[in-house]
Symmetry: C2
Subunit: 132 residues, 2 copies
């Protein structure tokens, strides 16, 4: 599939590339709308999906009501707070040996891995001592 160059697709990609956060489709829609006021939500969803398929952006492997995306290209790990849900990029170097090891063990073709740490971020840690 070859992607055509449209203002809408450019804008969606631009937003994802320009932030360091891990936005939902709706957030992207709201931001893009400032530049292209007539863009529709369907177009944003369509483009997010196509950009994911073409590998230009990634969908994060998080459960939850809404999907999250990111434009950052290099592989990296994440931390997601169990209380506030905030997602942080980590500096920990990616261990590509793991992929090889799992490939050998399983006979599968391993392309990459997602590693997500869970717990409490600094802010939530210093607040109420609730559980979960």
């Amino acid at each position: 599939m070859k992607l055509r160059h449209t203002r809408q697709r450019e804008a969606v990609l631009e937003v994802l590339r320009s932030v360091h956060s891990h936005p939902t489709a709706d957030w992207v829609y709201e931001v893009v709308k400032k530049t292209l006021p007539h863009i529709s939500k369907g177009t944003v969803y369509r483009n997010l999906r196509m950009l994911c398929e073409s590998g230009e952006v990634s969908e994060l492997d998080f459960s939850g009501a809404m999907r999250r995306f990111e434009g950052r290209q290099e592989s990296h790990y994440h931390f997601r707070c169990r209380r506030c849900g905030e997602v942080f990029d980590l500096d920990e170097p990616v261990n590509h040996d793991l992929d090889r090891r799992i490939a050998e063990q399983t006979g599968f073709e391993v392309a990459y891995h997602h590693l997500v740490f869970r717990g409490l971020c600094r802010d939530c840690r210093s607040k109420q001592p609730d559980q979960q």
Copy 2:
């Protein structure tokens, strides 16, 4: 929160404990219905959420339309096929040092981590040479 003992909750837990797969809520519902034909989907969803909160089952951190659950207790890693979506448990030992390292780096409280490998499973690998 202490959970009361009901036939419905028992049945949901039993299904999750008895399989090695990573079922969706709807799959659990279909199976439980064989034993309790009058159980409602709402009850299954409610119980899955409560059992997750109480720690008796886990929700998998996978993106996608439907949530997936598992009854297995010990922490372990997963492989998810990019073509067929099948999920496999891995034998690779869990590296708890990682949690400590990230905790030091970030100042966050790290409880655990999810590690998911992506690629092609053996079956899909031997089939059509499509991409994605």
